[in-house]
Assembly symmetry: C2
Homo-oligomer: 224 residues x 2
DNA sequence: TGTATTGGTGTCTTATTGACACCAACCAAT
DNA sequence: ATTGGTTGGTGTCAATAAGACACCAATACA
């Protein structure tokens, strides 16, 4: 049964997060065609029959934003009957985490970064998808070291703290934060490499992904 | 674009968990038709164009197992190209938690409960879906009070502890477990109602869902 | 030279976690 | 009636983790 029924189309949509100027941002595309022409929307498009859904998400991300080789994970599937005014479309949403500093150009001229706190009016049910993505990011950042996906390879402890404060919408004690994050021994201090500015230079660190993988295998749990 | 492409079919599949005889179980259906005729599979079927995916999951669960009014939540969407040998089928998987004691009959005669630890060979990629569901359940049971969905309305603290031990694959200290679970004040002691047997009778409790909803609203987090 | 800005550090108090052992109440068998 | 088997129910203490808290250092720029 089922093979002769009219079929829904399947799309992917990507909630692309970036962190810049101490603020969490989302990458949106301005639609050039109806419906919702001129409105901002999540990058995405139709899934082809010869590619997996994961592949479709990666492909659309590359085509629409120029981004590749970024953290990309399935988020949730949205299947309300009327979510697309044209016809039945089921969308498998993904979320991506981008090292914004290393991908400064968004590629497409119709793409722009918006603060997640005050996005423009979005097409389709993309506001709901964004909200779901944000909620997932907030939940996951506390027990998986995915925050590093939003920072450059080399970062300072202050940058990391500000990232967490921004994502979790809270403030953290500097000494306690440094104590906890360093006690996990997942950060490698890049001796001699400093970050300068109109103030005392800061020590740069990088996240040791291999060490984390090994520890995780052995039962270690990252937490906050 | 996209509207004239050949389209994948969309199905739902449900990982239905139950708890019985101190063991976590999953409800499977023996397939009566090809492909995988005679093999065991997760209950599921095609999504109709006039229903949401959530509705499809609930409907298929009712049609194939007779279960209704149970905890049902989206799990993950599986979209490998060759996961169905007939043609391209994308499946949105759900997981359900059933109070097995209160739904003793499975309805359909081709349905049966299997221990999640040693399921039979499954059709399609259902082994992977089951694995994903189990992993989700293990993760979620620790920070959301969903374990109660697997127990009768009235239960003893020992039953609850055995449920957690079974799901989390660990052993828990009786006194510490009771101390923690009671300290949350989410269990209502049903005075005078006892559970008898060939031993000292046990106090029955029920989970106070309204109180949990209120506390959660105020920022409370259930944990273990 | 001094002022503004961010970087970096340790202690102490309090709260949480985790280890641990015994008696109680019932049923069943003798 | 007594005994043995089985599960129910309870509190303390030690170790660990969490959280509050303030000052000096290094640089750029005026």
């Amino acid at each position: 049964m089922g093979f002769n029924y009219p079929r829904a189309a399947i799309t992917v949509d990507c909630v692309v997060f970036g962190f810049d100027e101490g603020e969490l941002k989302v990458l949106l595309i301005q639609r050039g065609i109806a419906p919702f022409k001129g409105k901002w929307a999540l990058p995405g498009g139709f899934v082809r029959t010869d590619e997996t859904i994961d592949q479709a998400a990666g492909r659309e991300l590359l085509e629409e934003t120029g981004l590749t080789n970024v953290f990309l994970e399935q988020l949730y599937t949205f299947g309300a009957v009327d979510r697309d005014p044209r016809e039945r479309v089921v969308s498998v949403a993904y979320y991506a985490l981008v090292k914004l500093c290393e991908h400064p150009a968004t590629g497409a001229s119709d793409a722009a970064w918006f603060p997640v706190a005050k996005p423009p009016t979005l097409a389709f049910d993309h506001a709901e998808i964004l909200k779901t993505g944000l909620s997932r990011l907030r939940g996951k950042v506390r027990y998986e070291p995915i925050g590093f996906e939003l920072l450059p390879e080399k970062f300072t402890l202050s940058q990391l703290q500000h990232l967490y404060e921004s994502v979790l919408q809270t403030t953290l004690d500097k000494r306690n934060f440094r104590k906890r994050i360093l006690s996990m021994e997942l950060l490698v201090s890049l001796e001699g490499e400093l970050c300068s500015g109109a103030h005392r230079p800061a020590q740069l660190f990088r996240f040791d992904a291999e060490k984390y993988a090994a520890l995780k295998e052995a039962g270690f749990n990252f937490e906050l």
